[in-house]
């Protein structure tokens, strides 16, 4: 039991009591994250439950049918397939751009460049992270739209490629910062050993650092994917918001200039029109539940992967 000095004039009893109260507050705040995650799930589930437990809801229809027609209400159908495909395709395009760039920049920042270039790049990355998503959406809508129509010959400027590029730029910072942490976590002795054997910097990077940091890099990619899947305003404004399947069986298998529509954008666009408690409203909450589940799985995997590294180290 620590001794409590009588400094503030109050009795020891009172000081102890105050300390207990504050500690209880600290514990409650500590658990708040768990409480919030749980209640987010619970309340969204509650709103969606009418749809989730309805006998009329056909789950294979929900997941594999592209007909999302909330109006007219009597013959409404809720098939989320094209939104799921839309989310997958735009995330895929974004990651095809952001992963090589993100890992490349992380290598550059942590291994290759002079301190001056490093500082500049870090500021650039911080600025990229600072731009609000609605401003990204605005840039996609105005600038990228113009560029794609006039220089790439796209018929509609707001399309998959537009959204993909914007999302790539948005998820770049998180990929770079986590990948850089992963490189930093590799002990210097590894690098020194390789360089003593005559390896060049590049050989050190791809023969030593990549294998040693692979779990951290995987986590970086996963969190980038999570960011891209969950992004709302930018994709709502850039992707054209059109139910469509951009994948095709012919080369190049993905029509990057097709407009698409994602899960997040559908909720944002339709929630305002859906009357509270209606089937449409419940279906939108069911989409939210799906999103929540996807993000939960991604984060859990990333956590397990990162924990894998820590265990290997100890």
């Amino acid at each position: 039991m620590p001794l409590i000095p009588k400094t503030d004039g109050g009795s020891i009893h009172w000081t102890l009591l105050r300390e207990k109260i504050i500690e209880i507050l600290i514990y409650i705040s500590g658990f708040s994250a768990i409480i919030f995650v749980f209640s987010i799930f619970a309340f969204i589930f509650k709103e969606a439950s009418g749809f989730v437990f309805s006998h009329e809801t056909d789950w294979s229809f929900f997941f594999f049918n592209a007909a999302w027609q909330p109006l007219p209400e009597e013959s409404a159908t809720y098939g989320a397939f094209s939104m799921i495909i839309g989310t997958i395709s735009v995330t895929l395009v974004a990651m095809l751009i952001a992963v090589p760039f993100g890992l490349g920049l992380a290598v550059l920042v942590s291994e290759f460049c002079s301190p001056k270039i490093k500082e500049t790049l870090k500021i650039v990355i911080e600025l990229l992270a600072a731009i609000p998503s609605v401003v990204w959406g605005f840039v996609g809508l105005k600038l990228m739209n113009y560029v794609l129509v006039n220089f790439f010959g796209a018929q509609v400027g707001s399309n998959l490629f537009n959204g993909g590029i914007v999302l790539a730029l948005m998820s770049l910072p998180i990929i770079v910062s986590i990948a850089e942490d992963a490189f930093k976590a590799v002990p210097d002795s590894y690098r020194e050993a390789a360089e003593a054997l005559g390896a060049t910097k590049w050989q050190v990077v791809y023969k030593v650092l990549f294998p040693a940091a692979k779990n951290g890099l995987l986590a970086a990619v996963l969190l980038g994917v999570g960011r891209a899947v969950g992004e709302t305003m930018a994709v709502l404004m850039c992707t054209g918001h059109n139910l469509n399947n951009p994948f095709s069986s012919e080369f190049p298998f993905l029509n990057i200039f097709d407009p698409i529509r994602t899960l997040t954008a559908s909720i944002a666009a339709e929630l305002g029109e859906a009357p509270r408690g209606s089937e449409h409203w419940q279906a939108l909450f069911a989409l939210g539940l799906l999103l929540f589940a996807i993000i939960f799985v991604i984060n859990l995997t990333a956590d397990l992967v990162v924990r894998g590294i820590k265990q290997e180290e100890s």
Partner: protein
């Protein structure tokens, strides 16, 4: 003379190629950023004037300024931070000072990471299902609460980092003098990590100011003639205003659209710069 063997030539060539590719990547990442800034400032600067930031919108937002939106954003962000900061800081204190190294702490940490990863539109659904419901309709307070939950995990993470930076020996010295755990935290740990906590929170101001999806259905309005009277009133907000003028109705002049974008971006960047320069300043004064 020492002759380079083909193998060494090859590895040096690969090194040069790799280096060049990485440099090109860096340039390719910087170009869009500069392009975006120049483009927005070039297009939006004609709209910028004192009237633009101090007047109400007129004629269905085709004329006038964006003052109510700026004020609404200010209210929402301030209110959300007043709510989120104490909880976030105390939660970080719990994680760094009280929590043991066990499975429960891992779950708390996982919950923080997960909360940070929840998409903004899912936060909006949550706000709509809870706060808006309890308050009988969207309002400033509901929007701020939604924003607060969204900013909470990031405040926890940045505060925790600041607390971790306080050396363990400080705490041990304090305990040896007979101070209790909370006395040590209050008089030693928190003052010594204050700068880190502050910069983290300022950074969060800029994030919250730019968020659109969480406030869209919980308290922000397209257009409103008056300023909000109380926290139970709805209000315009800058990010929401940008979304509206950019997507709804083609008769809104480009000048106003780009002007709004610049004001929002400028605000966010200024707050960011403030946070970064504070960080640099505090780091230069660090005593240990």
């Amino acid at each position: 003379m020492f002759q380079e063997t083909p193998l060494i030539q090859k590895k040096n060539r690969q090194q040069t190629i790799a280096r060049t590719i990485f440099m090109i990547m860096a340039v390719l990442a910087i170009i869009p950023l500069i392009t975006i800034f120049i483009y927005l400032f070039y297009k939006g600067s004609p709209a910028l004037s004192w009237e633009f930031v101090s007047e109400f919108p007129r004629r269905r937002m085709t004329e006038g300024g964006i003052f109510p939106a700026i004020l609404g954003t200010f209210y929402m962000v301030a209110l959300s931070l007043i709510i989120a900061t104490p909880i976030g800081v105390l939660a970080a204190v719990y994680l760094n000072e009280y929590a043991g190294n066990n499975w429960f702490t891992r779950i708390v940490n996982l919950a923080v990471v997960n909360l940070a990863g929840v998409p903004s539109i899912v936060h909006a659904l949550f706000g709509l299902g809870t706060f808006v419901m309890f308050m009988n309709g969207p309002c400033l307070l509901a929007a701020s609460l939604t924003l607060a939950i969204m900013t909470l995990p990031v405040i926890i993470a940045s505060t925790k980092q600041a607390l971790e930076a306080v050396p363990m020996s400080f705490r041990e010295a304090s305990w040896n003098l007979g101070a209790s755990k909370w006395q040590t935290i209050r008089t030693l740990v928190l003052p010594n990590s204050f700068s880190g906590i502050l910069t983290g929170i300022i950074l969060q101001v800029s994030r919250a100011a730019g968020e659109t999806a969480p406030i869209m259905f919980t308290g922000a309005l397209y257009f409103r003639k008056q300023l909000p009277d109380s926290i139970f009133d709805q209000s315009m907000a800058l990010s929401m205003h940008l979304y509206t003028v950019a997507t709804q109705g083609s008769q809104i002049p480009e000048k106003i659209q780009f002007g709004t974008a610049i004001v929002l971006l400028g605000l966010v960047l200024i707050i960011n710069a403030a946070s970064i320069s504070l960080r640099v300043y505090f780091r230069s004064r660090k005593k240990w």
